[in-house]
Structures are given as structure tokens and as C-alpha cells.
């Protein structure tokens, strides 16, 4: 396949779709599928057939539309009409609404002009909810693989690296390392065998950004990896995906097969001398394998435990070869950066954090789901504008960003811009994009305990501070929540947070104390209420004193 063939496919696919007056899109990503969106799709298809509308009406399975809590979602008329909580029984009414413009039942209609939709800026998710993730033609029609062809035919590898550097993109896995700098390091690391790895071992509780990208637009990730391979001089890529994402893995497999049969992956891509192959490796359910050195050990077939850095994978990674390892969302940003230029990308966002970020908004907020927003937006806008605020008129308490590695940000910092440095300045991190909103019914000691429990169970056990330190910290938090703790426990907890953060081997241990540290910093009154008064202000924990009273009362 060459550039002309690619353009032909794009034109043909667009023509085919323009023959239809109505395209009805049904979300077939994991969230909506689990609410039976496949049955909705089948029902819509048979309804279309029954009414003899096959020539003017097309039912299409698409990726995630974002408002996952309201799934299954259906959209028509270019997203002007959107429907929520759709059941197969609603198919007829939806068809009436789209084809005959009759009003649909109120309980299934969503206002497509909600701030949740209009407040977003989509780059990574530009095709999610638009294209059929199982058809390469759909991706090509949406300018897919254009960036790869542009790179391999018109740019030198260094030119590609320059564009990425110019874009100011930072790693979307959480730590925010400048992507251009990483690519430059691997590019410069000699001329021998090199590898590209895509980290799809998303493990933060409540986070599903990467899953959504893989399920909704898998070719975008493949294209990003191939561009990376060309730029740094690698001919082989691995996607390390957690096995708990079967649909993402299935769609990736389909996408790789399609890309190979179209000559978009494999040998002599685009009739050039560039070869690039991609293989999938499945994780076995260990959170620590999201850490790059542990991930590499796992691909090599060893036990997934981290090793000290340096040497960094960019110098010595997979099988001791220079290895470029980036997160799913980072690779998904690459094709638009190449297509529209690094300079364009750098105009979005803040001075030090460019572009957009995908967040999985969850917890005590009206609209839960997936959003993509420009960097620099405030937490208040995300939670109260896009998220629609706290349900049932309750009071906001804190927002937890960055999963078990992040912290809880209290109300007084709601107006800080969402970027790597501002979030770090208040003790949290950008993280991979989990965002859990908590209101007055959440107990911060309980939250800290939950995340510590997670880190304790997921610690690989290699280094002492993380293995035993997280266990001891968890036990102290448990004692506090049960009202059995003393002031001495609190002092010991503080000491351990500092020690585990500084002395642990890898990122898991080094960031495990963050949820505890931030809750200690901003919600000390809640800790004190548990310890000194035996009282849980939110009514979640049952400290000893409460228990005694309950027994007396009974």
C-alpha cells in the first residue's frame, strides 16, 4: 500500500457513509456493552430492516461516547440527538425520533449540549464514539495512518523527534516525563536493536482512560507506536496490556491483523524500507507491572518486579536493548501531533503542560464517565461544570487524583489549574487520569486506608520499605478507623510516610504514602476525631466509642 491507496480507501469509505441519510451510532465499548448495548444494536438493525430503511439508515457500533454511567448510549444526526440508558425496547422510539423527527421519551433523551459534552476538547478521543473500532477503513477515513505515511516518506527520524519535542507533550502515564526528551535519548542510543513498548497495564482503581482508547480507537495507538519506531530506529513493538481488558485485547488483535494485511504494519510499510511489527503481551494481574522496569521483566518472561534505575530503559531496557516505553494515551497523541504539527499542539494547555488530558471522572459527581479537557482547566470546572456538581445537594469535600499514587485535594485548592506542576504543589499528582470526587459522606481516614490496602496488596515484596512499610501503615490506619489508635500511632504513621516515600525502590512504594500524606495534611481534624473522640465525622468507620454507645443504646 502507498499513499494513493490510503487516500483511495479514505475517499471510498467516506462516500459509502455519505449515501446514508442517517447514521445511528451505538456505543460498543466495555461500559455500554456490559449494559447490553449489543442487544440494542441488534434491535435497532432489525427495526431498520423491518421498516425497509436499509438504504438510508445505517446502524454502526462505535467506541466510547464518554458518559459511561448513563449507558447504553446511542447517538444520531451527527450527535445532535443523544439517548441514554437505552434498552432494546426503546429502539423503535429512537428510530422514530431520528428518522421521523418525533419526540422520544424523556427518560432516554440526553441534552447533547450539556457542559459535559461541550466543555471538552478532544484530541486523543477525537475518533471515540465516531468510528467503528473494528474497521481499519473507518480509521483511515478519519485521516488515520496519514501521519505515519507522512513520517516515513517525507521526514527523517530526527525530524519526527523534533516535532514531538516541539509539541511539549509529557508522558501521560502519570509522572509527566517530557516525551520528546525520552525519544531523543532512545534515538541517540546507538544503531543496534531497539524496541518500542506501549504500557497498557492500566491499574489505578477507577481509571479506564487507556481501556477506552484501546476499545474505541485501537489503530491510533498502533500508528503512534509505528511512528515512534520509525523515529527512534526500532523495528519491533510490544503492547503490554492487562488481561483484565479482554475486549481491548480482542480489538487490538483485530487492528493488528487488519493493519498487517493492509501493509500498514510489517515489512516495507508504505513501500519504503521501514519495517515495524507489533506483538501483544498480557499482564497477569499485577499492578506493579505498570512500573516500566517491572513491565520489561514481565515481557522477558521473568517475575514482574522492578529493578533500580539507572540504567533507564531508554539506555538499557528490554533484553538490555534501548527501549522506548510510553503509555497508551501518549502514543494516541502522536498521530495528531504529526498531522497538525508540534507547534499547533503546544498552543493548547499551559506553559509547562501542553495539550489535553483524558480523565475518568468518578465518585460523588452527577456525570461520571470519560472526559478530555485542555490542560490548565481548573478542578472546579471539571467537577462542577462538566461533572455537573455533587448529587443531592451534598457538600464537596475532596477530589482524589492519580489513584493510589496521588493525593486528595481539598476545597481550598479547587481553583488551581490542572497541570503536572500545580497538582504536585498541593501534594497530589496528575497520574494517569483517575479522578474520584468525594463529598461530606466520605471519611478521609477510610479513603487513606483503602488506598494503603491497595498498595499493600500490590507491593511486589522486593524492597523492605514498601513490603513491610505499607503493611505497617495500613495497620495503623485500620487502628485509627476502628478507634483503637493512640497519638503515638499517629506519630509513627507520619514517620513511616516519609521513610517509605524516600527509601522505596520503585514508584509504587515512593508514591504509596501520598493519599495518607495529603489526608494528614488537609484533614487532620478527621484523624483527631477518630483518635481522640472515637468518632467518625462522616459516619463511615465505626470507632470503638461509637460501638460502645451502640451497645449501651441497644
Amino acid at each position: 500500500m502507498n499513499q494513493d491507496d490510503l487516500a483511495n480507501i479514505a475517499v471510498q469509505t467516506k462516500q459509502e457513509e455519505s449515501r446514508y441519510d442517517h447514521v445511528i451510532k451505538v456505543c460498543v465499548a466495555a461500559g455500554c456493552l456490559s449494559a447490553n448495548s449489543d442487544q440494542v444494536k441488534t434491535q435497532l438493525e432489525s427495526e431498520v430492516k423491518q421498516r425497509g430503511l436499509e438504504s438510508c439508515c445505517k446502524v454502526k457500533g462505535v467506541g466510547c461516547m464518554g458518559l459511561c454511567a448513563a449507558g447504553p448510549l446511542v447517538a444520531g444526526e451527527g450527535n445532535e440527538k443523544m439517548f441514554q440508558n437505552v434498552t432494546p425496547a426503546d429502539a423503535s422510539a429512537i428510530l422514530d425520533s431520528i428518522v421521523d423527527n418525533k419526540p422520544a421519551p424523556e427518560n432516554v433523551v440526553i441534552d447533547s449540549h450539556l457542559d459535559f459534552f461541550t466543555g471538552q476538547k478532544k484530541i486523543v478521543l477525537e475518533n471515540s464514539g465516531e468510528i467503528d473500532p473494528e474497521r481499519v477503513e473507518d480509521y483511515i477515513a478519519a485521516d488515520g495512518y496519514e501521519a505515519l505515511f507522512h513520517c516515513i516518506t517525507k521526514l527523517k527520524p530526527l525530524g519526527v523527534v523534533e516535532q514531538v519535542t516541539k509539541s511539549g507533550l509529557r508522558g501521560r502515564g502519570g509522572a509527566g516525563f517530557p516525551t520528546g526528551l525520552k525519544w531523543t535519548t532512545v534515538y541517540k542510543a546507538g544503531t543496534g536493536q531497539k524496541y518500542v513498548i506501549c504500557n497498557a497495564d492500566e491499574g489505578d482503581p477507577g481509571a479506564f482512560m487507556d481501556r477506552s482508547v484501546l476499545e474505541s480507537d485501537p489503530h491510533r495507538v498502533l500508528e503512534g507506536m509505528a511512528i515512534a519506531g520509525y523515529a527512534v530506529g526500532a523495528n519491533k513493538g510490544f503492547i503490554y496490556c492487562r488481561a483484565e481488558y479482554p475486549l481491548a485485547v480482542k480489538r487490538l488483535r483485530t487492528a493488528i491483523r487488519q493493519a498487517e494485511s493492509h501493509g500498514l504494519l510489517g515489512n516495507n510499510i508504505g513501500e519504503t524500507h521501514f519495517d515495524f511489527k507489533i506483538e501483544i503481551r498480557l499482564g497477569a494481574g499485577a499492578f506493579v507491572c505498570g512500573e516500566e522496569t517491572a513491565l520489561i521483566a514481565s515481557i522477558e518472561g521473568g517475575r514482574g518486579t522492578p529493578r533500580p534505575r539507572p540504567p533507564f530503559p531508554a539506555q538499557s531496557g528490554l533484553w538490555d536493548c534501548p527501549t522506548l516505553i510510553n503509555n497508551v494515551e501518549t502514543f494516541a497523541n502522536i498521530p495528531p501531533i504529526i498531522r497538525r504539527g508540534g507547534e499547533w499542539y503546544s498552543t493548547i494547555g499551559t506553559e509547562k503542560s501542553k495539550g489535553t488530558k483524558v480523565f475518568a471522572l468518578a465518585g460523588r459527581v452527577v456525570n461520571t464517565g470519560l472526559i478530555e479537557v485542555p490542560m490548565g482547566i481548573t478542578l472546579r470546572e471539571i467537577i462542577f461544570k462538566l461533572g455537573g456538581g455533587i448529587p443531592e445537594g451534598r457538600r464537596f469535600k475532596a477530589v482524589q487524583s492519580g489513584g493510589p499514587s496521588g493525593g486528595c485535594v481539598p476545597e481550598q485548592y479547587l481553583d488551581i489549574p490542572v497541570d503536572y506542576d500545580s497538582l504536585a504543589s498541593v501534594g497530589s499528582i496528575m497520574g494517569s487520569g483517575g479522578m474520584i470526587v468525594m463529598d461530606e459522606t466520605s471519611c478521609m481516614v477510610d479513603v487513606a486506608k483503602f488506598f494503603m490496602d491497595f498498595c499493600m496488596s500490590e507491593s511486589c515484596g522486593k524492597c523492605v520499605p514498601c513490603r513491610v512499610g505499607t503493611t505497617q501503615m495500613h495497620n495503623i490506619l485500620e487502628r485509627i478507623s476502628e478507634g483503637r489508635a493512640t497519638q503515638n500511632d499517629l506519630e509513627q504513621l507520619k514517620e513511616l510516610t516519609g521513610m517509605v516515600k524516600a527509601a522505596s525502590l520503585c514508584g509504587l512504594g515512593q508514591t504509596a504514602p501520598n493519599p495518607t500524606l495529603t489526608t494528614l495534611r488537609y484533614f487532620m481534624d478527621e484523624y483527631k476525631a477518630h483518635i481522640e473522640e472515637g468518632r467518625c465525622p462522616a459516619g463511615i468507620c465505626h470507632p470503638v466509642k461509637d460501638k460502645e454507645e451502640a451497645e449501651v443504646g441497644a
Binding site: 517475575r303 507491593s459 515484596g461 524492597c463 513491610v468 505497617q472 524516600a502 527509601a503
Partner: protein, 241 residues
């Protein structure tokens, strides 16, 4: 001193002393040559270093992270601090964490008086444990005719795994589970006595820092570890490369 290609001679400062080393040496290697003491536990000369126990963490000027001296290579102009209030506190906490993790009761332990963990605690002034003991239920494997594996005393340093894989070449030992539930195992978690890969060489017993692996028939305090063979064997391994 002749150097291999790509290896340079560096000068650096460790604990306010000017030192010289090769760029393929670690901070620990150079410090030892100059008689500067850095505490270690999982490391054993002759085996690969893994930087797991975090006892040898040092501060390097210009780095915001603490670095394990056993695996960090020296660089020209490095300034290394081995002993600071913070580092010493962390080391004591690390030891406390280890003592609290399993059931280390020195008075009835076969290696009492000859234990790396015990002597390091004495040296660093850890004379009491402020942390609650976790008191896990841990098994003792006495199925081997000559040796005993008492997991109560194991600190997961993985010396046994490394000596078995790297020097004996049997790879009988490995790790299973994660976090505090991690255990060293023989074969695929079969009793040691039933292991088909174990050659019975006993190197694992000799390198074990505590009483976790010992010879049968020893009373409390009688198990002396003999590690004289290690430098020789690791030298043979280097020559064989």
C-alpha cells in the same frame, strides 16, 4: 591499573574523602576500597546485586532520590553522603520493619550470634522495636535430609535464589507471592526434600544471612555460616565468561 574499553577513571568524594574508582565500579565497591563502611544486607560479594534491602542507600549531590550504593555506578565528580541523620534513621527503620515482619526470636535461633541481621542491628543501635509485630503464621520445611528452611527467619534477601541460579546453576530456589506474603520456594513450591533440581550443595544455607536456612542438628547459636567459597567461585565464573 589497566581498564577495559569504555571504562574511565573517575574521582569522587565519599563522606568528605577524595576517592578514585573505575566507572564500572559501584559506589559501594569504591567505598570499601577506601575503608568507608556502608551497611548492606541483601548484597553478598560474588553474587549479583539487586538493591532490594535499601540498607546501603546514600545521598548523591544533585540527585533528589536516594540511591542504593550497591548498584549505583560511580561518576566523575560525584559527591556521596553515607551517614546523615536522615539516612541513619531510615536504616534503623528498615531494620525495625524487618524485625517486625516475621518471627525473629534470637535467643532460640540457630544463628544467634552469627546472624547478619542481628549484628547489623547491634552496629546501628537498634536495641528495641517500636513497631507492632505482624506475627504471621509461617511454616518450617524440614523435609530435606540435611537442611532446614525456617521461613520465620527469612528476610526475603534472595541470596539463596541468586547463589543457586548464578553459581550452582540449579535454580532450585525462587520467589512466590507478593508483598508480605512473598515466600522463597524450592522447585514449584514443593517441599525441599522432594526437590528434583536441588543438588544438595548447601550453598544457599551458607549464604543465608539469618537462621532461615540452616544445617540440621544445630542447637541455638551453633550454626556458623561458611562463605569462603564465594570469592573463588565467582572468580571462576568471571574467567569462564
Amino acid at each position: 591499573m589497566s581498564t577495559a574499553p569504555g571504562v574511565e577513571i573517575c574521582t569522587l568524594i565519599i563522606e568528605n574523602r577524595e576517592c578514585g574508582g573505575r566507572s564500572d565500579q559501584t559506589i559501594l565497591d569504591v567505598a570499601e576500597e577506601y575503608g568507608i563502611f556502608i551497611p548492606t544486607l541483601c548484597r553478598l560479594p560474588g553474587l549479583s546485586s539487586i538493591g532490594a534491602c535499601r540498607m546501603c542507600l546514600v545521598e548523591v549531590k544533585g540527585s533528589n532520590k536516594l540511591l542504593p550504593a550497591c548498584v549505583t555506578k560511580v561518576q566523575e565528580g560525584m559527591e556521596v553522603t553515607v551517614n546523615s541523620e536522615r539516612l541513619e534513621a531510615y536504616r534503623r527503620t528498615t531494620l525495625e520493619l524487618l524485625f517486625s515482619e516475621r518471627n525473629h526470636i534470637c535467643s532460640v535461633c540457630v544463628t544467634n550470634g552469627h546472624c547478619d541481621l542481628q549484628s547489623l542491628a547491634q552496629k546501628l543501635g537498634v536495641n528495641h522495636i517500636t513497631m507492632p509485630y505482624l506475627h504471621p503464621h509461617v511454616e518450617v520445611d524440614a523435609s530435606h535430609p540435611r537442611f532446614i528452611a525456617d521461613h520465620n527467619r527469612c528476610i526475603l534477601c534472595t541470596r539463596c535464589i541468586r547463589v543457586c541460579a548464578e553459581i550452582e546453576g540449579a535454580h532450585t530456589w525462587d520467589l512466590m507471592g507478593r508483598g508480605t506474603k512473598a515466600r522463597v520456594i524450592t522447585d514449584l513450591n514443593r517441599p525441599w526434600g522432594e526437590s528434583e533440581s536441588c543438588t544438595g550443595c548447601g550453598k544457599c544455607v551458607q549464604v543465608c544471612p539469618t537462621g532461615a536456612l540452616s544445617e540440621k542438628g544445630q542447637a541455638a547459636g551453633e550454626m556458623m555460616k561458611r562463605r569462603q567459597f564465594l570469592p573463588y567461585l565467582s572468580m571462576m565464573r568471571e574467567v569462564g565468561k
